[in-house]
Amino acid sequence: MKTTMIDRYIAEIGKRLALRNRADIQKEIRSTLEDMLEDRARHPDRTGEENLVVDLLREFGKPEDVAASYQTERYLVGPQLYPFFSLVVTIVLPILATVLMIIMSIGLFSSIVSLKSLHTKISEDDARLLSEWQKRVRQLTGNKLTLGEVAGLIGRIVEERYKALPEGFSKGDFKSLVDALIGIASEEASGRG
């Protein structure tokens, strides 16, 4: 009885440990549990072996907690990069998606317009109006940030992050980073213009 309960307990812990040192940790826990059990069995207020094991395991902790204590903290996105990650998810990605949608709908619209101009007979005035429109659309899409430029901008921010962290950014103050972002954007614009 005692052995199987400890066996199951240790197996439960093992499931949650990395394979690399699983056997080693399990062996050590078992050895400790047996030591503790022996100690307690010698104690006068023993209440039967089965209860002894139950109490011991309960005191030792839930298998998941025991296993967790051996894990070093693991992150998908580490604490250093988290403010930046959060910024990207909450601000940059929605902007990116919006810009992308605008570019796509303009593209779709202008291709519909050119299809129409190919396949329908239209008056000369209308044709002039349409081509004027198409020119404007092209100007518009040409002047807006393209997807590539937005991606470039994000890359630039990452780069900038290590060179000159805006003060307070690491504390999660996004306003300072947004300011920096606007600064970079206007700098890029003036550099081109």
């Binding site: 062996k27 826990i29 050895s31 400790t32 204590s69």
Partner: protein, 108 residues
Amino acid sequence: MTNESFDNVIMELRRGVIVLGVMSRLDHEQYGYSLIKDLSEHGLEIDQGTLYPLLRRLENQGLLHSNWRIEADRPRRYYVISDEGRDLLPRLKTEWNGIVSMMGKMLK
């Protein structure tokens, strides 16, 4: 302050002290459970869930050595301070004494 957050503050406070306590008691070989009892006799209560991962970490850092031995039909893992740990310990003690006297003045 809730009991839980009080416990957390105490735990944070004790964390560094435990490392020092463990290293100072491992000047001779001990296995985990004997170390727990040893520390407890000195008044430092520490549970297995804290001690074993700590021993493992200190060993990975090269401050302790360990080896398995069979004793009384049971494999036991014995830990002892490494040369590197032995070099570090006096410096840690000095640091600790500095902290004690500094905090003593600050909390007066």
